[in-house]
Amino acid sequence: MIHFGVSLHGLVLAPAAATSGIIGLSPVDVAIIAIYFVAVLGIGFYLKNYAKSGEDFFVAGREMTAWVAGLAFISANLGSLELMGWAGNAYQYGILAAHWYWVGAIPAMLFLAIIMMPFYYICKTHSVPGYLQLRYGHATSGLSAITFAVMTILMSGVNMYAMAVVMQVILGWNFTFSVWVSSITVGIYVALGGLYSAIFNEVVQFFLIWLGALLIPVLGLVENGGWSGMVARIHQNFPTQNFTHMWGPMVHPSQNPMGVQWFAIVFGLGAVLSMGYWTTDFLVVQRVIAAKDIRSAKMAPVIGAFFKMAVPFIVILPGLMGLAAFHHHFPRLYPDDYVAAHPALHLHKYDQVLPLMMARYLGPGLLGLGITALIAGFMSGMAGNISAFATVWTYDIYRPFIKKTATDKHYVNMGRWCTIIGLFISIGAAYVVTHFGSLMDYVQALFSFFIAPLFGTVIIGMLWKRATKAAGFWGLLVGIFTAVGIFLTIRLHPSSVGWFCFYAGAKPLAQQMWQALWAFLAVVTVSVLVTAVTKPRPEAELRDLVMGLTDIPSEGDLPLVKRPVFWAGVCFGVFLILQWIFR
């Protein structure tokens, strides 16, 4: 699934009536894709017998090892639109796009592992809204659960639509065929095996994504004469722009193509937006909650962080190679609106850089694997959406508000049914977007409205025992309205960008960071003020939920190499080295 920061806008504007794709498939490619569908369905049928209870269906029996949970955690995030969107962003903005994989992910993932995971795990919640219910009560939990459920299912539909358009443009596949075959497959295996099935398939998908995408940068580096050769070609092709440094052009927003300054990257992206996504988006957190013990739950995000640091190799590098290959039998790519305005020219868009690179380097067999990687990415993201929706609907909406007392079997059946129903709503949303394309931007924007406020509410609840129920609810609500207000103000009055971003030329990605930062500050301010005038909960009710009132097991008796905090330190060290190398 695609999350914060990636624009799908270009995909909406893809030629809807494409009759032939960029890439042609051979019989072996088709066989590889067909085998993949058989395999994921086979795994679903096999795991059906293991998903009997609610604990099995919704949290995979809480028996996943750190490696399985860690790979599923990262795979749920590696949607194919994420892969293509960020490769396109790398073509547009250069290596600045890697900020979303490093400063925009690694500190947050490590923070989840070491600071937040113990609270999620020890309180035995099934979900993030479930934690809010324990910490703040039904009002805050309900607000969070309903917004999450609605947005997740709409996002799933939007992604489904965008993916079908991609398949239409790249492969010439029929839109309806792509939507129904892929979504029904995901629906069947998730409804059969629940989170077990989703996680197992995500691990398989993880390998396919890497094996399918890894050859492109490898061959690209060979062609370009290594990293230095590629950088030299980029400088030769674009002598006036800085596409190959991450921090150097950040002193002033006018120095980089994104129009962003280091402050917004560090605090807006690193400290708020990414923290919100990686620590409170239930889609990814659910994978870690399924870990078999607290050490595994802490190790899983650390393992995920190591792989996340490597993702730019298969995503950002192909985008940069597109810049290097310009003038070398590679088409020039253009902004989405420009392509849409000149349909007769048959131009290619930024987002198409990854499939174009596939066509450049991969022959029969490998091409099938590469396309399978894209399909796997799409399905892992969609399975993440559907399984998270099923859990939040069943445990955080249906059980507390609709049917409080029912058997475990009843709730499992509800989970299975709402997997299917959620799927059909997603398909419906995908078709609605085909008629009202502009809705897509708004749905994506809606999702981003909740990330930063939710993080503010959760982190205050975890770290400050004085925070009250009312503070949780009003902080979250005001934070959401702040994000919505900034978004609408900029949409209606584009000249207002400078007020919020301190730079009139800030691009949408930069705007999103500032929007998150302001929303987070609103949550903190309102939460503190409301707490000051409302009565705190007794400490006894906050045991195992808040820092200072939770007994977190010591790791002192473990050897150093088995301690999550040690590996988190190693990971952070590698992260800092990467910042220095690509500064």
């Binding site: 085998i35 022959g363 029969p364 490998l366």
Partner: protein, 72 residues
Amino acid sequence: MSEERRMIPVWFFAGLLIFIYGILIFASGLAEWSHPPNTVLANLHAPVWWGAIMIVMGGLFIQLFRPKKVKK
């Protein structure tokens, strides 16, 4: 003495799929050896060595994580 089958590790499923794909890609690379596709660096015969790597990787996963009967 009864026996029960435990859940097959996910690594086995991953290994099996990687192994099958490796064979297909390797065979496809051999088939196109004398008339490589019209792609950049086709002379490196990437499908052959990438397919071989996948066969070894998949085979290793299958060997290490193949289902075993557990005695109770």
